[in-house]
């Protein structure tokens, strides 16, 4: 009981600690690929600490919701991130939300973020929110189709069970899983506001979505929003790792050695994920906002196709 609780607590702290590091790593690799030196990997921590110490400059028109939202968004994202298996399966509270619920939790975070964009009543906030919900309205169904595909292969929507079954040799290579992986990567890119859907590094007015919504935030509020964004990126990489590369995951009630292996392999997977993301983002150009529906529509169709294949035959 106590050990279980400690492992669960360790997971919660681990995701919180790794999240800024992951963002720093992606930025560093991207800079290196562009032959720039780039900020140190630990820079995001310094930024967070600085933002937290600064005073909040609140727009005159901002309501209580605007001040509560960063905490709500952070809480929803953090809870979601701590429920995805990172270094081990069968965590103490892993059954409290299955994959559908985790996605819905991220949906809650987005709902409140979009409201925050509208709260001050500026045109930038509005443009960000309206585009964000348009992207979400396509990304979320695609995500659910991916969940359906995986759940049909595995017979469960419980992430621990899913990782356990996928880790065993009984599943093997399947067309539907391949389609689901491609679709999941496309959704993850859109959900995390990465290139080619959105650009996390820009403040160019007409290209931004996520940054436009959070334009009015400052100080500790902004720190929490940035931390939530890092957590979300970490969550998606952990999700892809736990479903499509579940090697090294510690089983429930594992020895400390297995846990250590789990943590080491998890760190390795995150690093690989960061590298691939940085390569991808450097190699591709940002697309126009109204091209995004085609991109996500493709993800939705891939997910639907994968689900249909499984409805037709269990072995595809």
């Amino acid at each position: 009981m106590i050990t279980d609780l400690a492992v669960q607590g360790a997971q919660m702290l681990l995701v919180l600690l790794f999240a800024p590091l992951l963002t720093g790593l992606v930025r560093k690799v991207k800079a290196q690929l562009l032959r720039r030196q780039g900020p140190p990997v630990l820079q995001p921590y310094r930024e967070l600490a600085r933002l937290m110490r600064k005073e909040v400059v609140l727009a005159e028109n901002a309501s209580w919701l605007f001040r509560v939202n960063p905490y709500l968004i952070f809480a929803a994202t953090w809870v979601a991130a701590s429920l995805v298996p990172t270094f081990g399966t069968g965590l103490m509270f892993s059954w409290s939300a299955d994959l559908i619920a985790i996605i819905a939790l991220l949906g809650s975070a987005r709902f409140f973020l979009a409201l925050a964009g509208l709260d001050v009543g500026t045109s930038f906030g509005g443009i960000g929110s309206s585009r964000e919900v348009m992207i979400a309205s396509l990304a979320e169904p695609a995500m659910l189709m991916i969940v359906f595909t995986l759940a049909l292969v595995v017979g469960s929507t419980q992430l621990s069970t899913m990782a356990g079954v996928l880790l065993s040799s009984e599943v093997g290579l399947r067309v539907s899983l391949g389609l689901a992986l491609i679709s999941l990567i496309m959704v993850a890119i859109a959900e995390n506001a990465r290139i080619p859907v959105d650009n996390p590094a820009t403040h160019l007015e007409l290209t931004m979505v996520h940054e436009a919504m959070v334009l009015e935030y400052s100080g500790r509020h902004l720190a929490l929003i940035e931390l939530s964004a890092s957590l979300k990126l970490l969550l998606y990489i952990s999700l892809i790792a736990c479903l499509f590369a579940p090697w090294g995951l510690a089983r429930p009630g594992a020895e400390p050695v297995a846990l250590a292996i789990g943590i080491a392999s998890y760190a390795g997977k995150l690093a690989v994920g960061a590298l691939l993301l940085a390569f991808f983002e450097t190699a591709i150009a940002k697309m126009r906002v109204f091209r995004v529906p085609e991109f996500l529509g493709a993800a939705l169709m891939l997910g639907l196709l994968a689900t249909l294949l499984l409805f037709v035959s269990k072995s595809l």
Binding site: M52, R53, E55, V56, L58, A59, E60, N61, S63, W64, L65, Y71, A75, W78, V79, S96, A97, D98, A101, A104, L105, G107, F111, A114, L115, G117, L118, D119, G121, T122, S123, F124, G126, S129, S130, R131, V133, M134, S137, E140, P141, L144, M145, F148, L152, T157, Q158, T161, E205, R220, V289, F290, P293, L300, L304, T307, L308, L310, F311, K314
Partner: protein
């Protein structure tokens, strides 16, 4: 016992409807009517809840009313008790809300008598146990609600709304009348017990299903019969809108479930496909229509269409599983659908109350004239936000639970042997996911444009917080949204007798599961714990706030908005409801609504402003209703000549009709 209590409550409501006109002119009329309605609703709700939780045996009563050889049969079984509970809960909260809201009514006598008659009608439909009583109550409910729609008959468009509603309601009742006629057969066995005992031929049963889909579906708002709903629901006073949208559509769902699951016997394999396809299309189209609206109450009414679609997806899945003998999966799907019935009645009631409070405070329903109300009406804003989050299926609130259960039911469907279903169910799943995501977008818009940002008009600037009764009703529903979201196990268990009696199976008992989780199938398969998710969110949020305020900084300074350095003082520069929906309109609307945007850019030197015109078509209205209306007008024009015949011509016409009828009869025999 329950049936006696429920009927006494109905009698009280009917007496109230009859007595209300006697109190004309008295200022006490409004509080008296609404308090009596409140008490009667609370009593019937508690009785129904007792029946449901105690899993009591069905009880029936026959009163010497109605047809002399039939009498009026009333019966309460698990299904009736559940819907009696939904009706009573909605009616009680609406009465409480109206204790405050009703004071602003200009002509209370246009509302009060019909209000209690409407409540009585809804209760009677749920209690009826023979076709005659059912149809009379159904029509009673329709007509009293029509009178309520026409309460503000001088307002623009309300007369049109009332007219369309009346036509659609009569059409729906006609379909139900034919359905019951087919069910009762030539001998006229109108009691439900007789209908239930009889075996129905497959072709006849299929025809009845279609008629019920038209009859109950038009009342519930299934596409393409939904057209009256977004017109009529917003036209009524807001507490009646809440009842019509939250409760009366559920009475229609009751009619569907009663006939198709109970009276019609074993379903054929293709029934579920019709219901599923209609449900999926209704869900997505309802929310897309809602996204295009900027009238707050009309947006909510279109959302009812969406939620009816979600409910029918659950019911369709239950039919599919039942037809293939999978009782357990059918129980899961049916419970999901019925739980959504309850959930929707709660949050839709809450949202319409909120819209009513906004209407009282500002006199505006158009979101483009609102904005910034969170500063003026913080409590209404809070409860409205809870309702928005619940209807958008966000955890840990209640809307998520029923949609989650529906998804779980969809994931059980690959085991279905029929190929048609194998292709249809995943597509319906995608439609359900799409509608859930679009609903969240729509409520970001509804809440954001109405309550957030800066006030767009002086009416919105001067709004005042609403009265205590209205707030009490709204806070009650908001609390229910949370309770049903974090403790769904109790609600699922209460639905077990309903599922047992209709599909012959039940979901596992949830009350014994550790930590109050819900486990629809098996723990290794899926589980959800709203309570823990809620607690985790509260704890981590507070922890973060506490740590940051203590250890880092808690300083705060107010300053003008930043807006990339170019803040504009005019509130007109904010995003509006229409501009917010523009990206989604471009993505979906170009096909679904044939939406076209035209930019008129004057040449350089011309001082006229540039204009953006958006053209949106309602294709269902254009393709289905406009031609029918055209034909009717055409026929009416031609038949108009009959009004100006001489007496001799009239008499020969009557004679010819008589001869033809007798000939038909002779050939028939």
């Amino acid at each position: 016992m329950t049936v006696t209590i429920a009927l006494s409550c109905v009698a009280v409501l009917l007496a109230l409807a009859a007595l209300a006109p006697a109190m004309r002119g008295s200022p006490a009329a409004t509080p008296i009517v609404y308090s009596v309605a409140l008490v009667a609703s609370v009593v019937s709700t508690l009785a129904a809840l007792g029946h449901l939780v105690g899993a009591s045996a069905p009880a029936s009563v026959t009163l010497p009313l109605g047809l002399p050889w039939l009498g009026a049969h009333f019966r309460v079984d698990a299904l009736s008790a559940f819907f009696l509970f939904v009706v009573g809960l909605g009616a009680g909260a609406a009465s409480l809300f109206a204790l405050g809201y009703g004071r602003h009514e200009q002509a209370p006598m246009r509302v009060l008598p019909f209000y209690s008659a409407f409540l009585a009608g809804m209760n009677l439909v749920v209690l009826a146990d023979d076709a005659f009583t059912f149809l009379v109550s159904w029509e009673f409910m329709s007509l009293s609600s029509w009178a309520l729609v026409m309460a503000h008959h001088r307002e623009r468009d309300n007369a049109h709304a009332g007219y369309v509603y009346l036509v659609m309601a009569s059409f729906g009742t006609l379909a139900l009348l034919l359905a019951f006629g087919l069910l009762a057969g030539a001998d006229g066995g109108y009691a439900f017990a007789q209908i239930r005992a009889e075996a129905h031929a497959p072709a006849l049963a299929g025809l009845v299903l279609m008629l019920v889909l038209v009859g109950a579906g038009s009342k519930a708002g299934l596409l393409p019969l939904h057209v009256w709903l977004p017109l009529a629901h917003p036209a009524a006073p807001s507490h009646v809108s809440a009842l019509m949208s939250g409760v009366m559509t559920k009475v229609a769902v009751y009619g569907f479930v009663r006939i198709v699951f109970d009276l019609l016997g074993e379903p054929a394999w293709w029934w579920s496909m019709v219901v599923l396809a209609l449900g999926g299309i209704t869900a997505v189209m309802g929310v897309l229509y809602a996204l295009m609206q900027h009238d707050l109450k009309r947006l909510l009414a279109y959302h009812t269409v969406e939620n009816i679609g979600i409910i029918f997806i659950g019911l369709g899945l239950a039919l599919a599983f039942k037809a293939h003998g999978m009782a357990f999966a059918a129980a899961l799907a049916l419970s999901a659908g019925l739980l959504h019935v309850f959930n929707h009645s709660v949050f839709k009631g809450l949202l319409f109350f909120g819209a009513g409070a906004v209407l009282t405070a500002t006199g505006e329903r158009d979101m483009e004239h609102l904005g910034g109300l969170i500063h003026r009406m913080p409590q209404t804003a809070f409860v409205f936000l809870v309702g928005c989050a619940a209807i958008s299926a966000l955890p840990p609130l209640n809307g998520f639970v029923s949609e989650w259960l529906t998804f779980q039911a969809i994931l059980l469907s690959p085991q279905l042997p029929s190929w048609g279903l194998k292709f249809l169910v995943p597509a319906v799943g995608a439609l359900l996911a799409l509608s859930a995501a679009l609903a969240a977008a729509c409520f970001v818009k509804a809440f954001g444009v109405t309550f957030l940002g800066r006030a767009r008009t002086t009416a919105a600037e001067r709004a005042q917080e609403t009265d205590r009764f209205s707030l009490a009703a709204m806070f009650f529903f908001a609390a229910l949204c949370l309770v049903a979201g974090i403790l769904p196990g109790a609600f699922i268990d209460a639905l077990a007798p309903v599922a047992q009696s209709l599909v012959g199976g039940r979901m596992p008992v949830q009350s014994g599961v550790e930590w109050l989780s819900i486990v629809p199938i098996a723990e290794s398969r899926s589980s959800y714990n709203g309570l823990l998710v809620f607690l985790f969110m509260v704890v981590s949020g507070t922890l973060a706030a506490f740590a940051i305020h203590r250890l880092a900084s808690d300083k705060l300074r107010r300053a003008p908005a930043w807006d990339c350095g170019y803040p504009d003082a005019s509130p007109a520069t904010q995003y509006t409801a229409d501009s917010f929906a523009q990206p989604i309109r471009r993505v979906f609307g170009t096909v679904v609504f044939r939406a076209r945007e035209r930019v008129e850019m004057p040449p350089p030197g011309d001082m006229r402003p540039a204009r953006l015109t958006v053209e949106v078509h309602d294709l269902i209205w254009d393709a289905l209703y406009a031609p029918i209306a055209g034909w009717v007008a055409f026929a009416a024009d031609r038949l108009n000549k009959l009004q100006f015949l001489t007496v001799r011509q009239f008499l020969s016409l009557v004679f010819a009709a008589l001869v033809i009828l007798l000939l038909v009869l002779a050939i028939w025999q």
